[in-house]
């Protein structure tokens, strides 16, 4: 059969209504929850990036200082970044004076578009990552989030941060330059309150994601974070951790994931089968667990096979 215009028109009419309906974004309405003196947590949805949540899935933190608010992770889009900036102004009484981007992933980084690049700081590795992948992330986010992304363009952080002490607006921070979740993972300890902003090195009651993970380095980073004295931990995704359980939970998932996928390759399973492996009951409370397992299969399985299947 030739593809006629008639058959194409007929086919277009047969498409479900939802496929043709235009959809419009809502307005971001992030909420700040005070967690310590001068520190607020802004919770993301513990879900995949979806049009319905506008990509607002990562946690952010706001810290009040004399030189303006510090915003740790500015969200996914221009509008998201603006909403977080307005929220920071509302709760601290001062405009954002410093933005930290914890790592390259778009749900944490692309909202930097709402700020002067000169006040956006990140690890040099993160800037390099964004130089390489930023436009691709932007394309992917426009595809998934369309109208929510309007006006967003990739803003590269201009400020370099390094391991060690940082003083901003009279507030003392300890910065940790780590890697493992990605090639550059920034964590920040607010000395006054003992609040540790862990970025995506730590997930809590939400399955960890692994698109740029190096599991050996990630575990080493978790070892370091465990050794950092802190009272509260803000994970990159999931609820505030007051009892230190989130680091252990993240490690437990990564250990299980690697062992399970290694075993799956040794047992001759293919990727779809590995993605359907039973998830242990102890992870029943983790949101998006099946989704992240299947993503991790995509990230890790071909490499494991190349290593474990014998050369013929």
């Amino acid at each position: 059969m030739n593809l006629t215009r008639r058959s194409l028109i007929g086919a277009a009419l047969a498409l479900p209504v939802a496929a043709r309906a235009e959809t419009f974004a809502g307005a971001y309405a992030p909420k700040a929850e005070p967690v310590a003196e001068g520190v607020w947590m802004v919770r993301g949805a513990d879900a995949p990036i979806l049009f319905d949540n506008g990509g607002m899935i990562a946690n952010s933190a706001i810290i009040a200082t004399d030189a303006g608010a510090v915003l740790f992770d500015p969200g996914v889009s221009l509008e998201h970044g603006k909403a977080l900036g307005a929220l920071a102004q509302a709760v601290t009484g001062k405009a954002v004076g410093r933005v930290y981007v914890s790592h390259l992933h778009p749900d944490h980084a692309l909202g930097a578009a709402a700020f002067d690049p000169a006040i956006v700081h990140a690890l040099p590795a993160t800037r390099a990552d964004l130089e390489r992948d930023g436009e691709g992330f932007s394309d992917a986010m426009y595809r998934l989030l369309s109208d929510w992304m309007k006006g967003t363009h990739v803003v590269l952080p201009l400020g370099d941060v390094a391991e060690g002490e940082a003083l901003f607006g009279g507030r003392r921070f300890r910065l940790f330059a780590m890697q493992g979740h990605s090639a550059g993972d920034l964590a920040l300890l607010d000395e006054a309150t003992g609040t540790l902003l862990a970025g995506d090195l730590v997930f809590h009651d939400r399955a960890p994601s692994t698109p740029h993970a190096d599991l050996v380095k990630w575990r080493a980073a978790l070892d370091r974070l465990t050794a950092v004295q802190h009272r509260l931990l803000l994970p990159g995704h999931g609820p505030l951790d007051r009892d230190g359980g989130a680091i252990a939970q993240t490690r437990d998932w990564l250990d299980w994931l690697e062992a399970a996928l290694t075993q799956a390759v040794s047992d001759g399973l293919d990727m779809t089968e590995a993605g359907e492996l039973p998830i242990p009951a102890r992870f029943a409370g983790l949101k998006a667990a099946r989704y992240e397992l299947q993503r991790s299969v995509s990230h890790l399985y071909p490499g494991l096979e190349a290593r474990l299947l014998p050369r013929l």
Partner: protein, 262 residues
């Protein structure tokens, strides 16, 4: 007047449904390309949407260049062919599998060029095509971006390298997994001609053909395949040929394991 009649007759002819299209069942996935593909692939044969064909795919296309698909038609008797195709791919058919002495089961990885239905069509000995599948959302470019090994530039260093293993499933069957290094160029990337594995066969030590797979450019770079063949002991010979006529082969001896039995 006569001219008008001829015109009316002509319009009536044009408007009449093509017989084959008329006999096709309505597509539960409402794909814009269903009729086009169905007529091309199935001719006038009977087509049935059949949940006995299990098409297992992840809930997310994390990587549109490497999307795993497993087809399990072991609930159907006397399977002759299994097609895996994606309606909206520029190269719709990924594989055409004849399980000569093998279970009607195949796992592989394909490319996705956009959101598309991913389906399996299974031909049984009675001439009926059993079809199943689902939509999957995917970012663009799975077929039209250069393969990783082209970008890295090392594709030729590893061309045809075969890795694999086999597991005796108990009884008379062996599960075979094999991966091959190959760029699987689609021909849709500027200045890179189509170049892909075309055929993969599995043969018993006695020379019996067990599995015969035609492979197209929509299969992912560095293709991977899982077969379940009717051979208890091995060794199994896997042979592949690409579109330049290069041939690659390897021999696998099954290890005894029951964990892979499903």
């Amino acid at each position: 007047m006569i001219r008008k009649k001829i015109l009316l007759a002509l319009i009536a002819t044009l408007a009449a449904p093509v017989p084959a299209a008329f006999a096709l069942p309505a597509d539960p996935l409402k794909s814009p390309m269903w009729e086009y593909h169905a007529e091309r692939l199935f001719g006038g044969a009977t087509v049935r949407f059949d949940p006995a064909v299990k098409v297992e795919i992840p809930e997310i296309a994390e990587n549109q260049r490497v999307f795993p698909v497993t087809v399990d038609a072991r609930a159907l008797p006397q399977v002759k062919r299994i097609l895996i195709f994606a309606d909206l791919n520029p190269i719709p058919v990924a594989v055409d599998y004849a399980p000569r002495a093998a279970a009607p089961f195949l796992a592989t990885r394909i490319k996705l060029d956009q959101r598309t239905p991913v389906r399996a069509a299974v031909l049984t000995a009675d001439g009926v095509w059993h079809v199943s599948g689902n939509w999957i959302d995917a970012a663009g470019g799975g077929c039209s971006a250069p393969p990783v090994s082209r970008v890295k530039g090392d594709w030729a260093d590893h061309l045809g390298e075969m890795h694999g293993a086999a597991w005796a499933l108990g009884g008379t069957q062996t599960r075979l997994r094999v991966t091959l290094r190959h760029p699987m160029d689609t021909g849709l990337v500027e200045n890179i001609a189509a170049y892909n594995i075309e055929r993969v066969t599995v043969t018993s030590s006695a020379g019996t053909p067990l599995a015969d797979l035609q492979v197209f450019g929509a299969v992912a770079e560095d293709p991977a395949f899982t077969f379940i063949v009717d051979d208890a002991k091995g060794p199994l010979t896997v042979a592949a040929r690409d579109s330049s006529g290069l041939e690659f082969d390897g021999v696998v001896t099954p290890r005894s394991a029951t964990l892979a039995a499903r």
